[in-house]
Symmetry: none
Subunit: 226 residues, 4 copies
DNA sequence: CATGAATGAGTATTCATTCAT
DNA sequence: AATGAATGAATACTCATTCAT
């Protein structure tokens, strides 16, 4: 799996050649508007015509860039994967695992803060009503993450940091579940409220993010330590 | 819990009086079809007219039961909450905590198996595009769960089962994150694939649910033990 | 008038026998609500179901009183004719004509003030979209008025008050045109604005009704005097 | 008048830019069908879908020309105002006033004959149920007319044609009331019957329009003469 | 390549009327 | 006689997509 990333499963492309010839500024503007619309209204709730108007792109042009609404959506969803890949690339899976997870938690928070809309689009794509869409993505969006967890955890077990006999898959699953919903808490109104409810915060109470992140990492450390 | 449910937070009603006068068979049929449609297509992807036809109910009748599509959807979402409340009511928060969590994990699996559609509707309601809908629910759907975790964990800390100084809110958050996405894995195609990816299962591989549940409970036990 | 009314053209009835057996209070309430709704929203803009609810009458009952929405509307329109007949009955066509017309103008004002809704319903019935409705009324709503004008003008010409050779029909037409639109000015927002525009009144200006009525009567007097 | 039309009070526009780009033939056809439908059935009684079909325009196209049914209706009502403005522009308010009024009466008859539907739409717009529509028109539809009367009457009083001390507003109101309902008599079934009733014409009797117009002008002349 | 006018099936919702109770 | 649940055609309007210019 180590090299498999480069090989077969390159991220699929949902746009036309014409799209690649766009000026970068126009392209960024279009993708940015699309992201905003899909994030705010969901796939079904977004009007392609309104989106095109807001982006200053004619409908005809938009359809010359993307064969369909679905393809534009999938392109936008794919942007999230790219950013995630970059984020993971910064991390060294060879470092002490709990440092890695702590970085991951912090990065997740920062990423969700900086790109809440990507999280919202991801959440929407996750929905059963859009299963025919997410199935067009080559494999799950999580392939990268899973791969990363596996390598980091395996190395840490090897080094004796984490307990032997650990079920790597299940552990990664638990760690990522915690992380994913924590991440959503910074993007989605619903999951923000949920986190605050768990933390016992009322309407006005301030969220101590550092404390939450520390608690999460501590929870994970105890669960995994040798 | 016995009384606290009955007290203040009565679930809001989104249906008319006429709905309550329906014959139970017709009512069940209608709700069941509605659940199925919303689960399969999402709120925005579901056509009220098609739904009515499938349920064998005239459009006019449907609108005499629910003021709007939104209200029908919220009624369906509310059904999930009721079932959840029943499930939690079976559990004794006074038992050893890890037994309670193990039961919870198993119940979540059973519930998701039995009512995958409720999970799918919940996931849809969670979506940012439907925030105006979920905000009509009195408080989060999770209020019950949070409440339950708090009481069970507090009692366990009291008994010395779980470590003192535990951040109850954060711990409950972690435990529920693990549980929620595990639960989704039995309802949503997307999250099923994600779980299998984490477990390293290919297309044909069989999922050993018991092993996963055991691993999850073990993960939690180590994280929390005194 | 004394006999001709009773003979052929009795006002047609649009209600059922059941309607006549209603308690007077309920009947008044129903007619009053119906008048209000039709006046405010027009025939096509009024919902029979909403009307019944507001009147505290079940839909079934309402349909036992009136065969259709049309018949209820025509009944309401007929109420206006009855009130008009009463008003005319108070006048003595043998008095000096200009006194009669002055009384008529004043009565029209008072009537429109007291029953603006009847005027609005009349206006609606007048509309081409409802011609199949107004044609169901036996003859025009104006039969009474025309009859009254003829007798009063003829008598006045006879007495030498008004000029010989007067075209009675055309004169009555002119007099009634002035009167009718003046009357509407007290019921309809549109015609109120129109009158004020003619009088040069801005937003805040107060309307001197007495002066207007005097001017109207003076206009008529000069037009008709011997 | 020559310039005053061009100046301040531009008629509000209720259509989109796209509408202005239509081919003139298609545009005329659409407006003509819309006028016919609204005239025949009233605003509330007209179906936009049926209208579009009759006009040979797709529903989508129609909604690209007008934001809503209301806007199409107001456009049609506005056509009447334009034609009225043209008609008034032909008249010279400096001529002997009774000649002017005679011309006005004749023009009103001709206009109502040629464009009965515009009168019917005007009548519908006048209805209380559509007050929210007529209030969207900038000022009353009558502004032009009032203005014209004022100037013509004032000039005639100045010239000594009409009596000093005349209440210009009230006189104009009376004159226009007579004219307006006379005009309606050529468009509306209801008001046609009413006129015939006043003139004592039975089913078959022929209406001597010239005599009526002469009588109306004579009525007015006597009412106003110096 | 770009434009945006055009399409028309599809949407949620209303409402006059019927009829079983 | 009274009720009000049920009906379903009809309504105004939307929107993904096509295609002539």
């Amino acid at each position: 799996m180590s090299t498999s990333n480069d090989s077969g499963d390159a991220a699929p492309r949902f746009h036309t050649d014409t799209f690649e010839k766009m000026g970068p500024a126009r392209r960024e503007a279009l993708l940015s508007v699309a992201l905003g619309e899909f994030a705010a209204n969901g796939f079904n709730g977004t009007s392609i015509n309104a989106l095109a108007r807001k982006a200053g792109v004619s409908i005809g042009a938009l359809y010359s860039y993307f064969p369909s609404k679905e393809d534009l959506f999938l392109t936008v969803v794919g942007m999230g994967r790219s950013l995630l890949a970059e984020a993971l690339a910064d991390l060294d899976p060879g470092e002490p695992f709990m440092d890695v997870y702590a970085s991951l938690v912090r990065k997740a928070r920062d990423y969700a803060r900086a790109n809440p809309e990507l999280n919202l689009v991801y959440l929407d794509a996750t929905t059963q009503g859009l299963r025919h869409l997410s199935s067009r993505l080559s494999g799950s969006l999580e392939t990268l993450t899973v791969d990363f967890y596996y390598r980091a955890i395996a190395a840490a077990v090897e080094r004796g940091e984490l307990r032997r006999g650990l079920d790597v898959g299940a552990a990664a699953f638990c760690l990522d579940n915690i992380l994913l919903l924590f991440q959503f808490s910074f993007a989605s109104d619903y999951f923000r409220d949920r986190l605050r409810l768990f933390l016992g915060l009322g309407e006005g109470g301030a969220l101590d993010e550092e404390a939450v992140m520390a608690a999460i990492v501590d929870f994970a450390r105890r669960a995994l330590r040798a």
